[in-house]
Amino acid sequence: MATVDPRLTPLIETLIASGADWLAVEILSEIRMGRVDEHSEEELKEAREAVETFRKEKTVPPPTLETRQTSVRHLSGDEQIEFAANYAVQRITQNIEMAGASLQKLNEIANRSTAHLGVPSDSARQKADIELRWLDTEGTLNRSQTEEARSNLPALWKSLSEWSNSAREGTQNG
């Protein structure tokens, strides 16, 4: 396992203080694990096609694929800092974008299913405005919240990029 570069400490502490402790744990785990050799997209496509053939052809046995050994490469200190900054912003961005897209799809489903039923009331002519809730989480999530969160992403990108540059150049301060 790789040794975590101590220059990451301010970012890890900031993530924990902001309530994103899970993200801090993920970053540390990724760095300690290192980069592993992955199957190529072509290999994955071949495997999926083999499964599809197995499902369709009732007489063929399941496919067998050649097993490969995994190789691992650990990140240098500078690479760890760059990785952590990129990982944090991409993970948060992806989550917000996926939440927004999921809400959009839920609204689409509700609108089309209401139209399918042919409900004649005035209320049914309104557009759906679905909110998300979780059984173990305080609060709900709606479209305006995801838009508000999205509007703050550029500031996160900029600040993390600046922190990453300064940490690698050894000029960071509190």
Binding site: T14, S18, A20, D21, W22, E26, E30, V36, E38, H39, E41, E43, L44, A47, R48, A50, F54, R55, P62, T64, L65, R68, Q69, T70, Y87, R91, Q94, M98, A99, A101, S102, L106, E108, I109, A110, N111, S113, T114, D122, S123, R125, I130, E131, L132, R133, W134, L135, D136, T137, G139, L141, Q145, T146, A149, N152, A155, L156, S159, E162, W163
Partner: protein, 264 residues
């Protein structure tokens, strides 16, 4: 400099309840896949609807437009009498076809008696209706089972092994009938499975693997060597699932095509 990061994080996390929760990002990942399948089935002329935990539908303009995702410790299906405040599902059916329910994060009971959470599962609507009478756990294997991994770490052989083992314990074959508490005929899933050849238990694991759609959907890729198990046990590996990515489209099309071509 790090203070600017803190300020930006606070303004974003304040608007995103899921980002303040260890499992939150993973749930959004599952929801994104689940809603992708549902909208694609709508595009394929299936009737698709959002359904509250009491069995009622969420319609445009209705006062309660909440879609509730599971969280915390996974459970089975809660009784409808507990009200609409538990986990929602997505219902679907082709024209004049049987009703199916797309579930998220429900625990199924295996032959061993152990519970196994399936991130996204497709089950007959009659099973959902029966379980909503008094609450409980489905016994057997859903027709679609997708394991979702919203992690940057590459999918390992251990991850595959865990999913294959889960499906193995959930598989009900005709040969198992003598050990089962459920009555004849042996069904792939119970209680209240519809009758008919599509729903009956198969003879072998190969048959069951052929007769269901099983996949691991990952934000990242698969460790070299991990695919041998997935291919042999009929589990499709879908990497690079991100917003509108080619990997996402491939997954959604593969699941939807299987549902469209197979389910009654």
């Amino acid at each position: 400099m790090i203070a600017a990061v803190q300020t930006a994080l606070d303004s974003i996390l304040g608007n995103s309840p899921t980002l303040n929760n260890a499992g939150g990002a993973g749930r959004i990942f599952e929801l994104y896949i689940m809603t992708g399948i549902a909208t694609e089935m709508q595009n394929r002329s299936f009737e698709v609807w959002l359904q509250r935990s009491d069995g009622t539908r969420v319609l445009a303009g209705s006062p309660n437009q909440m879609f509730i995702q599971r969280g915390g410790a996974p459970t089975g299906i809660l009784p409808a009498s507990a009200g609409p405040g538990n986990a929602s599902v997505i219902g679907m059916r082709r024209q004049n076809g049987a009703v199916w329910e797309l579930w998220n994060g429900v625990q199924f009971t295996g032959r061993s008696g152990a519970y196994h959470e399936i991130d996204i599962g497709l089950v007959p609507g009659s099973v959902g209706n029966e379980l909503r009478i008094a609450g409980g756990y489905p016994f057997g294997r859903p027709r679609v089972a997708i394991e979702c991994k919203d992690a940057a770490t590459s999918g390992s052989v251990d991850e595959m092994r865990a999913f294959v083992a889960r499906l193995y314990d959930l598989t009900v074959l005709t040969v198992h009938q003598r050990y089962l508490p459920t009555p004849l005929p042996t069904m792939a899933i119970s209680p209240a499975s519809p009758n008919g050849p599509f729903y009956t238990a198969r003879r072998t694991y190969w048959d069951e693997n052929r007769h269901s759609f099983n996949a691991i959907a990952r934000q990242s890729g698969f460790t070299a060597g991990a695919l041998a198990m997935t291919a042999y046990y009929g589990v499709e590996g879908h990497p690079s699932i991100s917003l509108n990515s080619a990997g996402y489209t491939t997954l959604i099309q593969a699941v939807s095509q299987w549902i469209d071509s197979q389910i009654p």
